[in-house]
């Protein structure tokens, strides 16, 4: 009897709540740094300058929001898809406490300016060791639970979970090899172009294994579950998975187009970036195919709405990304705001929508209750959608504008906007729009958190255990 399985949900709940908490911190800092770009007087003290806060923003939302959301949802998925309780629930609870200690120390260290400078890899070496320990503890539980599963065949979500487990470990360790000078300072083991190449191999595959395989694992579970429709194509998911996991690692150098890094590395990266459209769209097509004949659920089912909009932004993201890799387009938009616009469509559109759908689906079930308010879930949906679109679209416009101003030359070949500041200040109105988009998104996220907290509070106490 299925009811006899005693699933272990303590760490699932704890990581979900931690994830929501750190998301709020990360989003608040995001709004602040957005304001600082137009109002430099908001750089109040050394601890609150843009240069230190931007890594706080990115790290809080990668390692504080997305990663614990994955810990939570993956601990849930391996139990449900394997029909077994978590292998080591005590270890999972310990991982939860250690995670929150580590993330507090990480935040403080970034505020204090302890940084390796490499993007999304800023944390200094003692914290890197902490991250690796946490990842090992998490992986032990995931792998051991999968090993003792009762359901012989591993569903697609478990493939993406296993890819995340090994992928994050490889790229995080690979990029953080450094020689310590003191407890708070180290120097990269790699130099110059090689350091850049390793960094963007990491940078792009942090996207692959945090912002792609994590939400895909959630997507492949939540879409069939919430829509009641079986997955469109198992074969497509197999082809999509292996080609994605193979191709992603070749693409990092598209971040280094027109740098002195040897051309062959750049060209290989550009070619693989374009190829990557295929496996990405395999998942998009699988999503749309699953809803075949059921599209009215986009009106009636808020979970389907989140998950389908999420995969749609994933589809747009994976067309836009490869096109940015092409040299001619890179020449125009690289180093401009186009790129943050691109990244935020992925994070605010695809990742957050998918994680939200995961939490909306999972949390009422493990608390034995119903969602507090579907109306609020719909409000959340529209706020984050509108906020994200305002953010991305304004950044694309001003990115192309600034890129074009940098390129503008007169008939004699002299720069039209020789003074950099004349290309900078036209950003300000767009950046104010961006702040507005961010605030709307943040408001939507607060509605989400409120809805979740109300749901938990309404859970029948006797059955909470």
């Amino acid at each position: 009897m299925a009811n006899e399985i005693r699933y272990e949900y303590d760490a699932v709940k704890g990581f979900a709540l931690s994830s929501l908490f750190w998301a709020i911190v990360g989003l608040l800092v995001g709004v602040l740094i957005s304001l600082q770009l137009v109002y430099p007087q908001l750089n109040l003290t050394s601890w609150l300058t843009y240069g230190r806060l931007r890594p706080v923003h990115t790290n809080a939302l990668i390692y504080g929001f997305t990663v614990p959301a994955a810990f939570s949802l993956f601990f849930y998925l391996v139990q449900r898809l394997g029909r077994v309780p978590l292998a080591y629930p005590g270890l999972a609870r310990f991982t939860l406490y250690l995670f929150n200690v580590a993330i507090v120390l990480a935040a403080l260290s970034l505020f204090a300016g302890m940084s390796q400078s490499k993007e999304y890899s800023e944390l200094e070496w003692p914290l890197d060791i902490g991250v690796v320990i946490l990842w090992v503890l998490f992986s032990i539980n995931i792998i051991a639970t999968i090993m003792k599963r009762k359901e012989e065949q591993m569903y697609v979500s478990l493939w993406y979970i296993l890819a995340t487990v090994v992928g994050v470990a490889i790229v995080y360790i690979g990029n953080n090899i450094a020689v310590p000078v003191s407890l708070f300072k180290s120097y990269s083991a790699y130099a110059g172009a090689n350091d850049a190449n390793v960094q963007w191999w990491f940078g792009h595959n942090a996207v692959a294994f945090v912002f792609t395989t994590i939400p895909l694992a959630i997507f492949y579970y939540i879409l069939p579950k919430s829509s009641g429709a079986p997955l469109y194509s198992h074969r497509l998911s197999i082809v999509g998975f292996w080609s994605l996991v193979f191709a992603y690692l070749w693409t990092g150098a598209h971040h280094l187009v027109y740098t002195p890094l040897p051309d062959w590395i750049q060209t290989v990266a550009i070619a693989f970036s374009i190829f990557l459209i295929a496996p990405s769209w395999a998942s998009v097509i699988n999503g749309y195919g699953t809803l075949k004949g059921q599209w009215e659920q986009m009106r009636s089912n808020y979970l389907v709405k989140f998950i389908i909009l999420g995969i749609t932004f994933y589809g747009l993201q994976t067309i836009q990304g490869p096109s940015q890799a092409i040299r001619a387009f890179s020449a125009l938009i690289h180093y401009t705001d186009w790129v943050p616009g691109h990244v935020h469509m992925g994070t605010m559109g695809w990742v957050t929508m998918t994680v939200s759908a995961g939490f909306y689906y999972m949390l009422p079930r493990i608390y034995n209750t119903e969602l507090y308010s579907i109306k609020l879930a719909n409000l959340h949906f529209w706020l984050v959608l509108v906020g994200q679109l305002i953010y991305s679209v304004t950044m694309w416009i001003t990115g192309i504008r600034q890129g074009a101003m940098w390129q503008a030359v007169d008939n004699d070949g002299a720069l039209v906007y020789a003074n950099f500041i004349h290309t900078l200040t036209p950003n300000y109105p767009f950046w104010n729009m961006r702040t507005l988009g961010g605030v709307i998104f943040f408001a939507g996220f607060l509605v989400f958190v409120y809805n979740i907290l109300k749901t938990i509070r309404n859970a029948p106490a006797a059955r909470q255990a």
Binding site: V179, A191, W242, L424
Partner: protein
């Protein structure tokens, strides 16, 4: 296909798939001559410049300033000749950057004298009223912590003299940062 019934085999295959591109495009090039340029033509960093670079990193200057000039006409017109592999050959970490909220700094050391940098770092708005750069006046009041000065040079493998290390004493963080900025664009021996 039965590998989706064998998690360990599955994981090993995933690692294999991940390692092909990883090795061929990222880790094998670490040992390929064309990617590892000669370093004997590069002027090594002085201890004060190393301290300045560390302050540049601490303050996250690379979040808004790149240090890489692309071989594109409009770019070389603005910033100077394209960056070369050699110029950053001894840089650990690299500071090429990914976003230009402010201008590229790869050649900034040739553009302005020290006095300009002191004034500009103290208050960017006093020079460009519409600039959005934070003011770093406090760096001029912060005494440079040079305790690890010698150890840093050893770890990085740059030559140094004890006079240079001793000279760190009494410098401010602003002195170090400006010394670093003045080096940018002057990496190669004449």
């Amino acid at each position: 296909m039965s590998i989706d019934k064998r998690p360990v085999t599955f994981m090993l295959l995933a690692v294999l798939a991940i390692m092909v591109g990883t090795l061929l495009t990222t880790f094998i090039p670490l040992f390929v001559g064309t990617v590892v340029p000669a370093t004997d033509k590069v002027v090594p960093y002085k201890p004060l410049e190393v301290e300045g670079r560390d302050i540049y990193i601490r303050e996250g200057c690379n979040n808004c300033h790149s240090q890489i000039v692309r071989p594109l006409p409009f770019e070389t017109a603005r910033y100077g000749p394209p960056s070369t592999l050699e110029e950053s050959a001894i840089d650990r970490p690299h500071l090429w950057g990914s976003r230009r909220t402010g201008p590229d700094l790869a050649r900034v050391g040739k553009k302005y004298p020290a006095a300009w940098h002191y004034l500009h770092m103290k208050s960017p708005q006093s020079m460009y009223p519409q600039s959005n750069m934070p003011a770093y006046a406090w760096l001029a009041d912060a005494k440079l912590d040079s305790r690890d000065g010698e150890k840093k040079m050893k770890v990085l493998g740059y030559p140094y003299t004890s006079e240079e290390i001793n000279a760190l004493e009494g410098k401010t963080e602003m002195d170090a940062l400006v010394a670093y900025l003045l080096r940018l664009g002057k990496e190669m021996k004449p």
